[in-house]
């Protein structure tokens, strides 16, 4: 600690260089924190589904409908608490680019199953009481500037025509990873307007106990195996995790970029530290003459390198924390996008390692410096 002032004086020796190096470390860690947050958010989104709910979809393919008649047969299976059914609507709001998910749900059973959708009681009643009502996520309301009671028109793609809905309820998710940009409306409305031509896209099944999930899942699939519409049943968690993997190998991409960033900044920082060391050969020799031990000098140079990297790293991560949580657009793709404490700590750890690697060569040079050699050059 008593050498703190010496380290500080060294850092201040070329302020411009110190600041530029710290800044390049800053941008690197800003990138690190942002990129890693994409991964942690994807992981969190894959975990958001419940283990106590099953999703049964068509074994032929996710886009194939299932018969209404399955509902009662599922209901009769032991361990099944309740069944709900839904359909993907896939409508377009004004322009194809305004994409958001729309689900036709059997509202009574669905909302009972999803306590994680927080809806004010009066809005819940208003929604349930009106055939053409819609229940909309708070984020989606904000994105399009919608108000409660407003009528919005969606153009059907799977179900042709213009569909009008009145927004009667706004939900906020209990967990941000659940997402707040979905649009729910009554399955009955879809059913009646399509002249009862539509059948459910998938069933959501609430279990009495989550530990029965695997057993009940295979029992259901066996039940329908020889019917005209065989099912594929999995937990809601693995069903949603399946969608996350559809983006492709995001984690490999992110890791590859992260590695490149790390080494790019390693080169920049190491170069600076070596330049700083070269300028100070004479100084170090004088310190040695004054009786500074090799180990002490090693420590001083190391500390300096680590300070630059950690300061840069902390600022970079801090910037990422601040900018990411306020970046609305990204929430549509990655609901609940945020920098986790794990990322912060890992980042600081990497900063220390980065500092140690960049400092090691100059620190060794300083500690091994031969006084006679060095002072001859002065």
């Amino acid at each position: 600690m008593k050498f703190a002032r010496l380290v500080l004086a060294n850092l201040g020796r070329s302020k411009r260089r110190t600041i530029l190096t710290a800044l390049s470390v800053t941008v690197a860690f800003f990138l690190f924190a942002s990129l890693r947050s994409i991964l942690t958010t994807l992981d969190a989104n894959a975990e958001v589904g419940s283990e106590a709910r099953l999703i049964a979809s068509s074994a032929t393919g996710i886009t194939f409908p299932l018969p209404q008649a399955h509902i009662n047969r599922i209901q009769a299976v032991e361990g099944v608490k309740s069944v709900s059914w839904s359909n993907w609507f896939g409508g377009v709001y004004i322009d194809q680019r305004n994409f958001f998910a729309q689900f036709a749900i059997d509202s009574d059973s669905y909302l009972a199953m999803y306590p994680e959708l927080l809806i004010p009681e009066d809005q819940r009643r208003a929604y349930l009481g009106e055939r053409t009502a819609a229940l909309v996520g708070a984020g989606l309301m904000e994105r399009f500037g919608w108000r409660l009671g407003q009528t919005v028109t969606l153009q059907g793609t799977i179900f042709p025509g213009d569909w009008e809905f009145t927004i009667r309820g706004v939900y906020t998710p209990e967990n941000p990873s659940f997402g707040d940009e979905s649009f729910y409306f009554h399955y009955d409305y879809l059913f009646e307007r399509t002249n009862r031509q539509v059948t459910p896209g998938w069933f959501t099944i609430q279990l009495d106990a989550p530990d029965q999930a695997a057993a009940i899942g295979s029992r259901l699939d066996a039940l329908f195996e020889n019917s005209s519409a065989p099912t594929k049943t999995e937990t809601e968690r693995s069903f949603q995790a399946g969608f996350v993997t559809m983006w492709g190998n995001v984690s490999l991409l992110v890791r590859a970029i992260g590695t490149a960033v790390f080494f790019a900044i390693l080169f920049v920082a190491a170069n600076t530290m070596m330049m700083a060391a070269r300028e100070r050969v004479g100084e170090v020799a004088v310190l040695k003459t004054l009786g500074f031990q090799n180990g002490t000098l090693f420590g001083i140079v190391m500390t300096e390198a680590i300070i630059i990297c950690v300061v840069g790293g902390v600022i970079g991560i801090g910037l990422a924390v601040m900018s990411m949580s306020s970046f609305r657009a990204i929430q549509s793709f990655l609901p609940g996008f945020s920098v986790t404490p794990g990322t912060v700590w890992l980042g600081i750890g990497i900063a220390v390692v980065l500092g140690a690697i960049t400092g090691i060569v100059p620190a060794l040079q300083a500690s091994r410096l031969s006084v006679v050699e060095a002072l001859r050059r002065v």
């Binding site: 800044l23 690197a28 032929t60 993997t245 492709g248 590859a256 490149a260």
Partner: protein, 387 residues
Amino acid sequence: MKIPIIYNLRSLRQRPVSTLTTALGMALVVAVFVSMMALSNGFQSALTSTGSDENVFLLRKGAGAELNSGIARDAANVVAGMPFIAKGTDGRPLVSAETFVVIPLQRVGGGGMANVVVRGVSLAAFDVRRGLEILEGRKFRPGSREIVVGRTFARRFPNSEIGGRINFGGQDWTVVGHFAAAGSSFESEIWGEAEQFMPVFRGQVFSAITFRMSDPANFAGIKETLEADPRLYVDAYQEKEFYDNQGTLLNQILNFLAVFIAGIMAIGAVFGAVNTMYAAVASRVHEIGVLLSLGFKPRNVMSSFLFEALLIALLGGAVGCLLVLPVDGLVTSTTNWNSFSELAFSFSITPRLILYGMVFAATMGLIGGYLPARRAAKARVADALRR
């Protein structure tokens, strides 16, 4: 008078470690930039080459994607009789009414499930699209449970060798051929006879109709005729335009990421270059003094130092481009959200991308070298030589 280039080259060799670390820093930035652009490039070209501008693509009005669309058999017959459809060598119209479904299949080697397009076609489909060729085996025989698979599909899914059996829709289907389609998204698909798929999947409706125009210049007129026909109820697209648009969103994301990530990395690398060049200037104060007293103008000194920064950057750029060359052709996949199916595509590095990478590097070098070079040019002879 200009300061000879050899001066810069020798100066760089004088401090190899610092030159190399700076160049390597930039090399990695360029590598990231070029590889991400190659990703977006490969993705876009897989979709773009899927469509042809001679072909018209019909979907049910408002459907917007093959998955949502449905066209009745009567309507398909009406379209086939239209006069503006090109004729094949056998005199039959080049029109293909197709079914389109997406099924889950297990990837090779426990890579999880992927959604795959199963396209029901007639043999005319192989002629309507140019660039389609059977690489191995033969086309499916009408009336049998035979399929052909794209070559990208064949590499990624089990049992897709000739003679292999793939189970979907509750049936076994025999693979009789592998086809190539000029790197387009068709290569990720399974093709069989529409008449075989209809009873298994969706009943007696087609999803889309594609035909070749006898006069591609008349697309606007054809579109009008078809969309106004009360028997049809369809939207008509130029095939190329339709597929181009499918990738727009993901492409924008990828391009944005390429510029955003490489841009931020570049800031860091530029700071490194600034440091290096300032150090270079500081350690050569004497030399600058000598140069100035020899009669070189300050602007010569400035351009000489700028040039030196540029050399480091171009070295970095070249190394960066070399570093990413191995990813060219690497196959990866993502989901085409319009069809909800897996689309395999390869990184595609073109000479244009290499040029972009070098320009990117040069820009970093010039920005990083500017302030230090100006400092060098402002040195006064007396001060410089005093030390």
